[in-house]
Amino acid sequence: MSSEAISSTEYIKHHLQNLTWGRLHDGTLGFAHTPEEAKEMGFWALNVDSFLVALVLGGLFVFLFSRVAAKATAGVPSGMQNFVEWILEFIDNSVRSSFTARNPIVAPLALTLFVWIFLMNLMDLLPIDFIPMAAQAMGIHYFKVVPTTDPNVTFGMSIVVFAMILYYSIKMKGAGGFFAELAFQPLPKAAMPFNLVLEGVNLIAKPVSLALRLFGNMYAGEMIFILIALMGATWVSASVGSTVMFGSQILLSLGWGIFHILIITLQAFIFMTLTVVYLDMAHQEHH
C-alpha cells in the first residue's frame, strides 16, 4: 500500500495499470499518471513496464542459452549446459511428437516461446508489492511487472504465430489450396459461404484463443494475488481479527504461489504446444 488514504479499489486499479509512455493531452511526450490519461494516448503509446521486463527476460534467455551454445561440447556437460540441454531435449521431443513436417524454424520458435513465456509468467511469483513500491520510491507511478498480464504482449506473440500460420499455409498448399481448405470443407462445395464463415472463424480463433488463454490465466492469477494482498491491508490494530487476516494472507499467498508455479509452467507449455500444432496443421495438405 502506497499510502493510508488509498482504497481497495484504487489499490487494485493501481496494480492493473501499465506504465504507459506516449503523447499526453497537452501534446508533450511522457508517462501517463492516471488510467484515463493512458487511455487517451490511443494506439501510439508504449507500455514501458511490459516492454522492458519482456526485453530483459528475453535477453536473459538468449544470453544464457547462447553462452551455453557457444561452449557446448559433446563431452561431459557442465551444470548449466546440462540444464539447457534438458530443456532443449524436452522441447525437441514435444515438437517431434506433434510436428510432422520438416521446418528448422519450429523447434527454436517453440523453445523461445516456452522459456520466454515461462520467465514472464514467473514474474507473477514475485511479491506483488515489491516492484511497484520500489518503482514508486524511484518516482515511477505505475509498474506492472508481469508482461503476460498485458494483452499487448500475448497478442504480440500470437499475431506473429498467426502470420506464420498464414505464411506456411500459403507456402505449402498454394493460395488456391489454402482457399480450398477454407471454402470446400467441412460441407460440400455448394455450401461455400457457410464453409468460409466456419473455417474463417476457426482460423481467427487460433491467435485470439492463444493470446487470450495466456492473458486470462495470468491476469486472473495476478488478480487473486492482489485480492489476497488486500487481506493484510485491513490491518487496523493488533486485534484478533486483524491478526487472523494477516496470517491468512501469508498462508493463502503461499498456497496460491505454490499452485501458481504449476499454472505458469502449464500456460507456457500450452502456448508452445498449440503454436506447434497450428503450424503443423498449416504445413499439412488437408485430407
Binding site: N18, F61, V62, F65, A72, W116, F155, V160
Partner: protein
C-alpha cells in the same frame, strides 16, 4: 489495459528472439547433443566388440593351453617309452657283448692250451732224443764196435 504499440514492439522482439535462437542457440546445442549421442553409441559398440574379442581370446587361450598340456603329456610318455627302450637296448647290448667276450676268452684259452700242448710235445721229443742219446752214449763199446768194424772192413 489498452491495446497500443506495445503489441508491435512485442511482435518485433519476439521475431528477433526467435531468429537469434534459431541462428545461435539451437544448432550448436543440438549438434553437441548429436555428437555426444554418436560418441556414446560408438563407445557402446566398441565395448561390445571388445567383450566379444575378449571372449574369443579366452576361448583360444584355453584351447592353446589344452593343446600344450596334451603335447607335454605326449612328450613325457614318449620320453618314458624311449627311456625304457634305451635301457632294454643297453641290457641287450651288454648281454651280447658279454657273450662275445666269453666266447673270445674261451677260444683264446683253447689256443693257449693247444700251444702249450705243442710245446710240451716238442720238449718231450727233445727229451726222448736226448735220453736216447745219453743211453746210446753209455751202451756204445769201442772194442766190440772195433771187431764189428774190422769184420766189415774184411768183407770189403
Amino acid at each position: 489495459m489498452n491495446i497500443n504499440a506495445t503489441l508491435i514492439a512485442q511482435a518485433i522482439m519476439f521475431g528477433l528472439f526467435v531468429w537469434f535462437c534459431m541462428r545461435f542457440v539451437w544448432p550448436p546445442i543440438t549438434a553437441a547433443l548429436a555428437a555426444r549421442q554418436k560418441q556414446i553409441a560408438d563407445g557402446l559398440a566398441s565395448s561390445e566388440r571388445g567383450r566379444n574379442e575378449l571372449e574369443l581370446a579366452t576361448k583360444r587361450a584355453s584351447t592353446i593351453l589344452h593343446e600344450a598340456k596334451q603335447q607335454a603329456a605326449d612328450l613325457v610318455a614318449q620320453a618314458e617309452k624311449r627311456g625304457v627302450a634305451i635301457i632294454e637296448e643297453a641290457k641287450e647290448q651288454a648281454r651280447v657283448e658279454g657273450d662275445r667276450i666269453i666266447v673270445g676268452a674261451k677260444a683264446e684259452i683253447e689256443q693257449e692250451v693247444s700251444r702249450a700242448k705243442e710245446q710240451l710235445r716238442d720238449q718231450v721229443a727233445h727229451l726222448a732224443v736226448a735220453g736216447a742219446e745219453q743211453i746210446l752214449r753209455r751202451e756204445v763199446d769201442a772194442k766190440a764196435h772195433a771187431d764189428m768194424l774190422a769184420s766189415l772192413k774184411g768183407g770189403l
